[in-house]
């Protein structure tokens, strides 16, 4: 819908300014752009329901298999970044909340400002220069080594830098929210009671504190999952990660509309699924929440 509502004419963008009006008319008819928008939409939805996302104009083959294959790589990158950001963020947030105004708390506050101000693509390049080019510890780009790779170790080595880059901003956001939520929870009466009955501080924080702070944390983790899916486009571009983001940018530059539509659709659907999963998690975390 967004692509069709944009003022640009897809046929003109695809063929460039040198195209004749006959060429443009033919391509518009081929793409079905001459039909009313609702008709185009219903026909497109019908094809999508049958698993047909159209044919790529650039690669001259069906879009779906390519998009799905690339999406697996994106999912791996985003999933790993989400695990890193959730584990790191919650851990940092809990530690900061259990020792407010300590050096760790101040460090996490400064880190959150850094995280919000750092261009993710620049951070990626800096990490690549340090860990790949200077120290030579990790590979600089791609998903597999061109020769002799192919095992899990090779994949992990290639995954490390892009996943850390992608997770960097989210870690600080999750940490700040965990801290403020935990501080609120730790001020409640039942926490005082738990401490008064002699429970070890670690158990007070883990069982009574964190458990009750989980709903806002899960919400922000869900939101971050969406941002990571979007942010993956930039990270993939830096590390030449063969994901759906790089495919989409290639599609835009090649003016390949069916390919771009396919990429957007797959990411949007996964974004909706993440939101659904978050909603279902609420009920699991807090049994008082029930969906009709």
């Amino acid at each position: 819908m967004v692509l069709h509502l944009s003022p640009g004419d897809p046929a003109e963008i695809m063929l460039g300014s040198a195209a004749t009006s006959e060429d443009l008319a033919r391509l518009r008819a081929d793409l079905g752009l001459t039909q009313p928008l609702p008709v185009q939409y219903v026909r497109w939805m019908g094809r999508v329901a049958r698993g047909d996302l159209g044919r790529s104009l650039w690669m001259r083959r069906a879009v779906l298999p390519d998009v799905l294959e690339r999406f697996r790589a994106t999912l791996l990158l985003t999933g790993t970044a989400l695990v890193i950001s959730t584990t790191g963020g919650v851990l940092l947030g809990v530690l900061a909340a259990s020792r407010p105004h300590s050096w760790l708390d101040r460090l996490s506050a400064v880190a959150s400002l850094f995280g919000a101000s750092m261009p993710v693509f620049w951070l990626g390049i800096v990490l690549m220069v340090i860990f790949s080019l200077q120290l030579g510890w990790l590979p600089a780009s791609g998903m597999w080594a061109p020769y002799g790779g192919g095992d899990a170790r090779d994949l992990l080595a290639h995954l490390a830098l892009p996943a850390v880059t992608l997770a960097a901003a989210s870690v600080t956001i999750i940490a700040r929210l965990t801290r403020s939520t935990m501080l609120e929870v730790l001020g409640q009466d039942y926490i005082r009671t738990a401490r008064a009955k002699g429970l070890v501080e670690r158990l007070v924080i883990a069982r009574h504190g964190l458990r009750n702070a989980l709903i806002p944390i899960v919400t922000v983790v869900g939101v971050q999952a969406g941002y990571l899916l979007g942010g993956a486009v930039l990270t993939e571009a830096v590390f030449a990660w063969p994901g759906v983001g790089t495919l989409m940018v290639q599609g835009i530059l090649a003016r390949d509309f069916p390919l771009v539509q396919g990429c957007v659709l797959v990411i949007a659907v996964s974004f909706v699924l993440v939101n659904l999963a978050v909603d279902l998690l609420y009920a699991w975390i807090d049994p008082r929440i029930r969906y009709e």
């Binding site: 069709h4 640009g8 403020s180």
Partner: protein, 275 residues
């Protein structure tokens, strides 16, 4: 005043840095800088502190000080203009959607929901795909995906304010909708909108730089921090400064904007103080 400013030393430092950068960018045509697009193939990839090139040169021998200063004009203007456009559009739609119930409200709020249901940068990329790459289109795309933030915020305030007694009283006295909105409703959302706007400028600078980095924003040879980063990264092994400098520039500006925005939030909207 000075005592109040002393409570926010970081924000004051951020504001001073911003004034210096904005001032330098605004005065670029009057500064003794070389042409930012002038190619000199004999002076390619010179390191910083080279005589005649304080911060070195890029892959075409173009002076990096000049390109950073001229690039600041594009990057700052893009960030501020897109945030302002998103704010204006968002505020107008938020007021209309909050004050007038019915079909208009439903259409505005559902459109807002749809836009918010997509990852921000992805939607901007999709719109640029429809419009074609270029700075103007990238700015338009970022403004479009940015307005729902303001629409939600303003609508929430308008919905709560329009039920209050002083608005009822103004209506009973025969005030027109325009007068009620201007005199009684507008002052209620000015502070939160200003705070959101100040924090949003940094996000918009990052987003436009991101699109330029992907080749979807500013097109060569125009200097812009995002595109400088993108073209420079091929030479990162030989000359890391070509990539590091525009990245540092983006970081310093966005960091300063966020410091000022944070302080503004604490002053204007103390309820949301993150402390």
């Amino acid at each position: 005043m000075s005592r109040r400013l002393r409570r926010y030393p970081l924000a004051v430092a951020g504001a001073l840095v911003l004034i210096a950068i904005v001032g330098t960018a605004a005065l670029a045509p009057h500064l003794p800088l070389t042409d930012p697009d002038a190619v000199d193939t004999r002076s390619r990839l010179r390191p910083p502190l080279t005589p005649g090139h304080l911060l070195g040169t890029d892959e075409f021998g173009r002076d990096l000080v000049s390109r950073l200063v001229w690039g600041a004009r594009v990057s700052l203007l893009a960030g501020i203009a897109t945030a302002a456009a998103a704010m204006l559009l968002g505020v107008v739609l938020g007021v209309v959607g909050g004050y007038y119930t019915g079909v208009v409200e439903t259409v505005i709020m559902r459109a807002t929901d749809v836009l918010m249901a997509f990852p921000y940068i992805l939607l901007a990329i999709a719109i640029v795909a429809g419009l074609g790459p270029g700075l103007r289109n990238a700015m338009l795309a970022i403004a479009v995906v940015g307005f729902p933030l303001y629409t939600r915020l303003v609508r929430g305030v308008v919905l709560s304010v329009k039920q209050l007694e002083f608005v009822e009283a103004a209506r009973a006295l025969g005030s027109s909708d325009a007068t009620i909105l201007r005199r009684h409703v507008l002052p209620q959302f000015v502070s939160p909108v200003l705070v959101t706007f100040s924090l949003d400028i940094g996000a918009k600078i990052l987003a436009t730089a991101g699109l330029s980095f992907l080749g979807l924003g500013t097109q060569p040879p125009t200097a812009d921090w995002g595109s400088m980063l993108a073209t420079g990264r091929q030479f990162v092994v030989l000359s890391p400064h070509v990539v590091l400098l525009p990245g540092v520039a983006i970081f310093v500006v966005v960091f300063s904007v966020n410091l000022v925005g944070d302080a503004l939030r604490d002053v204007l909207d103390p309820r949301t103080y993150a402390g």
